[in-house]
């Protein structure tokens, strides 16, 4: 029957056309960024035309923007804001403050993500894609041009590594945290004021008779991106760069670039001695990391306690920008205050005024 033959012939042709179309998904314009995984040659491809830019367009562009300025279409909702690669201030690195991070630092952030922020861990990206992305990120800033390769801080000197019982490390860390580094200036103190004084005296510092208000809560400070952020309360907040001891050590030793968190390695890399023996040693950085980790482990997965007591909501409203609105310009010179902070490793550090920020929030919130 004629009509039948026609039907089957048309069907067959149509099927062939469909299959032919399926064979080359990469040809579609909609799909130009899709199959980087398959036709990607090697990690050393030119980052601007190759795998790096394709992967950037697929995974990163929504938040970090096509120009790498951290102002992608989703960025107006995000606090902290996405990193501005044009400025190349990277918070989490294993290098000295002010230096560009190691490639490993960037790829670690890409694969592990930053807990508590919109930066997901891209654990399923194949290593060559991550490498290509790192190279692509570097194309956004001229700071990377001709810069000598930074050297990572020592990370293999954990004196407590072989000791299964970390009690001693944690106790030492608590003493350094409160009595030497005075972390409670921004982070909460986790002990009473009199206990802080005991630690201060034990480390040959003068006892203090006045402490800041709300000593057991975090203080908010501005960062170089113009955002006001609370220092983490370890029993409550996620720690961005990872909660394992190595990551905590890295953050303490190298500091967090662009924020009030200073680099601590210089304060402890040379043993300080007095008549009675050593006051601080490089190993104390690790002790602090163990202490902070012990605090993190006290954080409940879910909060069942009386919410009005320990978990009073902190006043930190953040304005959602209008579409296309540019973010608040950051303060100009980012590195200077950090350096100052570093050199005075004692209690004289300028203490951010809490009440000022509260009013700022109120203003932001009102708009």
């Amino acid at each position: 029957m004629h009509s039948h033959r026609a039907t089957f012939a048309t069907t067959a042709i149509a099927c062939l056309v469909t299959l032919a179309g399926c064979g080359e998904p990469g040809d579609s314009a909609v799909n130009s960024a899709s199959v980087g995984n398959f036709n990607a040659p090697t990690a050393t491809t030119d980052a601007t035309t190759g795998e790096g830019s394709r992967a950037y367009a697929m995974y990163c562009v929504g938040c970090h923007g096509s120009d790498g300025d951290g102002n992608g279409p989703a960025a107006r909702f995000l606090r902290p804001r996405p990193r501005n690669f044009q400025r190349a201030n990277f918070k989490f690195s294993s290098t000295r403050a002010g230096q560009l991070p190691m490639d490993e630092d960037l790829s670690r952030t890409i694969t592990e993500g930053l807990k508590g922020t919109a930066m997901s861990g891209w654990k399923l990206l194949p290593p060559h894609t991550v490498t290509a992305l790192v190279e692509h990120i570097k194309t956004f800033s001229t700071k990377w041009d001709g810069q000598a390769r930074a050297i990572a801080l020592p990370q293999d000197n954990d004196p407590y590594r072989t000791t299964p019982d970390k009690t001693q490390a944690i106790a030492r860390g608590e003493r350094i945290y409160h009595g030497y580094a005075a972390c409670w200036m921004c982070h909460p103190s986790y002990i009473s004021a009199s206990a802080i004084n005991r630690h201060l005296v034990a480390l040959e510092n003068p006892a203090s008779d006045t402490f800041r208000d709300h000593l057991h809560q975090s203080v908010a400070t501005p960062n170089t991106e113009g955002e006001v952020l609370f220092a983490p309360d370890f029993r409550r907040d996620f720690v961005r760069a990872g909660e394992d001891v190595a990551s905590l050590y890295r953050s303490i030793a190298a500091g967090i670039t662009g924020t009030a968190m200073p680099m601590w390695i210089d304060s402890m890399d040379v043993p300080k001695a007095n008549a009675s023996g050593q006051l601080v040693t490089p190993g104390d950085l690790w002790a602090m990391a163990y202490y902070v980790q012990s605090l993190i482990q006290q954080r409940p997965d879910r909060i069942t306690a009386d919410l009005s007591n320990q978990y009073t909501p902190r006043d930190r409203p953040q304005r959602i920008l209008a579409p296309g609105e540019t973010p608040t310009p950051p303060p100009q010179e980012p590195s200077a205050p950090t350096e100052e902070f570093l050199e005075d490793d004692e209690e004289e550090t300028p203490q951010p005024s809490n009440s000022d920020h509260q009013t700022n929030h109120a203003a932001e919130n009102g708009s």
């Binding site: 469909t18 562009v61 997901s120 399923l124 953040q318 919130n365």
Partner: protein, 697 residues
């Protein structure tokens, strides 16, 4: 579309008393026309919805046109409107004809038909207004569901009475209809009412696809074929014995399915076998009808469609065979290695299968019936133009074939990408060309359907009027003994009653956690962060701040929103026990994780288009969700998820629903021991996460 009632009734009553024609033809016509109208609407809804996959959905941002809701409209009106109405129309023609007895009174039948259409329209309205619920194949708003059960019970009772009372020997086609007529109302009650109010879905839901197949697609479809293929070929069925064997197999299909699910739940039967046995049983049953249809159609000159309707029956049966092969292929690949198996069910492979069976096989059979009956029902001797029949067949058939090949190929590609653990975004991007073909081919199928609708209009206007009612061919031969029929019905009735009782019993003996139980397990950090970040909005809706009570209330609204927007159609809340799932989303989900009031309904969507959400808590931050709900493509350029601007106020701050749905997202799996380690999608084996970072220690 609706026959004029009083006059017709009188005319037909007189006819019936004279034993001329027990069929109330205007009612059948009404069902058919309603069916075709819903088919058109369903195809249009599906085509619009498919544009969302190409990121060119024309109504983005309009709540009432949300693609998620229209996804439900598509499946609901295709299933209940197109297929349901067409089946009811065909049954109202066949049953009186074979039993020689009318169905109810004409007025009552008419009222029930109108009620069914009203229910469907109300369902569509409810779904569009966001009152749907996460019950697969029972998405009608909760307040409509009892009416559906009731109406189905009355319609099937009306059809069953002549079946029961007839003095004539019952031809084989009638036997098949016994199964859906018995099962229709109880299935809806058990599958739709219980999950809404009581039961969880720890076992496969009774209205799940397996039961849908064994209780409705198989017996109805086979019955139609055994009635209409002899009519259209003017030839008796090739092997009545095979048809009877098939009937017994079909009647046993549901009990076998149920027993396998039960044994699997008890841990006696491995899941792979629990899936394999019913599938193979179904395929074996299918073979009986496939052989019989083709053997009947073949004469000395080869396959010769005596009637335009035969095209539909033959192609439909062929596609049904393809669907069986496809199923066995998917099954074989999962039996080969269950732990590392491809997850065919979650890919477009399944969408290919459902369109092939629901539209290609079942829909085509129904088109065949309508092609055969409509001219008679319209009072014409034949169709207006035979060539129009051919074009309807060509456009629809080719469209469906291309859609099937296209989606099956998409499923293979998606499976490959998922299996090789590439980031989810890649599987979306790689699917786009296939989705372009699917949306395009929708136009062709709709064009084919328009040909049919125009053809009906032209036949009504210009068709040559039939002077006398046309005589049908003699009935298919009836069996001498009906003991098989009785046995099959008994087995089916007993198994339905058992399932109903077991479900009820499981409800009575199990305690789902209440909302407050869940809230007392602890408030999430993310909930408090929402209060900190959006105090103005948060305290407006929850004046007491983040308390246990406000958390419970936000969770309830969040889950309601998740159901209303049909999120569950694209996002599973079940990590299957296959390696690729576990690697992406953590340990396989245990049944007891669902024993709470929020999750007892659907955790099994029809197709996993987005990632699994069962351990979503903490995987992404609140502000990520915020940006993503506002406009998913802002965050993930390849995303095909709809935007939900109605979760936000005019300044783009989250409103009550926005806060609630994020609270729900950040709760999912938060009580699971592994949840705090979640961050992003990725390998969960401890060994894998430490690779490349060993130097830091």
């Amino acid at each position: 579309m609706t026959p004029t009632a009083p006059v017709t009734i009188e005319a037909d009553t007189t006819m019936r008393s004279a034993h001329t024609n027990p069929v109330y033809e205007k009612l059948v016509l009404g069902y058919f026309l309603a069916s075709l109208g819903f088919a058109l609407a369903g195809m249009l809804a599906g085509m619009f919805y498919s544009l969302q996959f190409l990121q060119i959905y024309p109504f983005t941002g309009i709540e009432l046109f949300s693609p998620g809701r229209w996804r439900i409209v598509h499946t609901t009106i295709v299933t209940y409107g197109f297929i349901g109405n067409a089946c009811l129309g065909a049954l109202h023609w066949i049953v009186p004809r074979l039993t020689g007895r009318p169905i109810l009174t004409n007025a009552r039948s008419l009222v029930l038909m109108m009620a069914w259409q009203l229910i469907l329209l109300a369902t569509v309205a409810g779904v569009i207004l966001g009152q749907t619920r996460a019950v697969p194949w029972g998405e009608a708003p909760p307040w409509i569901a009892p009416f559906i059960t009731l109406t189905l019970a009355m319609i099937s009772a009306g059809l069953f009475i002549p079946f029961f009372k007839t003095q004539r020997p019952r031809p084989i086609a009638l036997w098949y209809f016994a199964i859906p007529l018995i099962a229709l109302a109880p299935t809806h009650a058990i599958g739709s009412f219980l999950p809404q109010h009581f039961a969880s879905n720890t076992a496969t839901g009774i209205t799940g696809l397996g039961h849908m197949v064994s209780l409705f697609v198989m017996p109805l479809g086979y019955g139609f074929l055994y009635e209409f293929v002899p009519l259209a070929t003017q030839r008796p069925i090739w092997s009545p014995a095979l048809a009877r064997a098939g009937w017994l197999a079909a009647a046993l299909s549901f009990p076998i399915h149920t027993v396998c699910v039960f044994l699997c739940d008890q841990g006696t039967l491995p899941p792979s076998l629990a899936e394999a046995i019913p599938t193979l049983w179904t395929v074996g049953t299918a073979v009986t009808v496939i052989i019989n249809v083709f053997a009947t159609a073949i004469n000395q000159r080869g396959i010769h469609p005596a009637h335009p309707a035969m095209r539909w029956f033959l192609l439909g049966t062929l596609l049904y065979f393809v669907g069986c092969v496809q199923n066995v292929f998917g099954l074989a690949s999962s039996l080969y290695s269950a732990a590392s198996s491809y997850d065919w069910a979650s890919s477009d492979w399944t969408i290919a299968h459902s369109h092939l069976i629901a539209f290609g096989a079942f829909g085509f059979w129904l088109f065949g019936i309508m092609t055969y009956l409509l001219p008679k029902l319209l009072g014409a001797t034949k169709w207006y133009r035979t060539s129009w029949n051919v074009w309807h067949f060509r456009l629809t058939g080719i469209g469906l074939l291309i859609m099937f090949v296209d989606l099956a190929a998409a499923g293979v590609v998606q499976q490959h990408l998922w299996h090789s653990l590439t980031p989810w975004e890649q599987s979306l991007a790689a699917s786009v060309p296939f989705w372009v073909v699917r949306a395009t081919i929708g136009f062709v199928m709709i064009a084919g359907h328009m040909v049919l609708i125009c053809h009906i209009a032209m036949t009504t206007i210009h068709g040559k009027k039939a002077r006398t009612p046309e005589a049908e061919t003699p009935d298919t031969p009836a069996a001498k003994s009906e003991s098989l029929l009785v046995a099959g019905i008994l087995i089916l009735a007993v198994s339905l009653a058992t399932v109903g009782f077991m479900r009820w019993n499981s409800v009575a003996t199990r305690h789902d956690k209440t909302l407050m139980d869940l809230a007392h397990e602890g408030v999430t950090h993310e909930f408090i962060e929402l209060a900190e970040r959006f105090p103005n909005q948060f305290y407006e809706y929850y004046p007491n701040g983040p308390t246990i009570e406000s958390f419970a209330s936000a969770l309830a609204l969040g889950r309601a929103t998740f159901e209303a927007e049909a999120c569950w159609h694209c996002h599973t809340q079940r990590v299957r026990a296959v390696s690729q799932d576990i690697a992406r989303w953590g340990p396989a989900t245990r049944a007891d994780e669902y024993q709470n009031v929020l999750q007892r309904r659907a955790s099994l969507p029809t197709r996993r288009i987005g990632p699994d959400l069962s351990k979503e808590a903490g995987r992404r931050s609140n502000d990520w969700h915020l940006a993503h709900f506002f406009k998913p493509t802002d965050v993930v350029p390849t995303s095909v998820m709809p935007a939900y601007p109605w979760f936000f106020d005019e300044d783009d701050y989250p409103n009550r629903r926005g806060l609630a749905v994020i609270t729900y997202m950040q709760w999912l799996g938060s009580t699971h021991p592994e949840s705090s380690d979640n961050h992003g999608e990725g390998p969960h084996e401890p060994a894998a996460t430490t690779v490349g970072h060993g130097t830091q220690h």
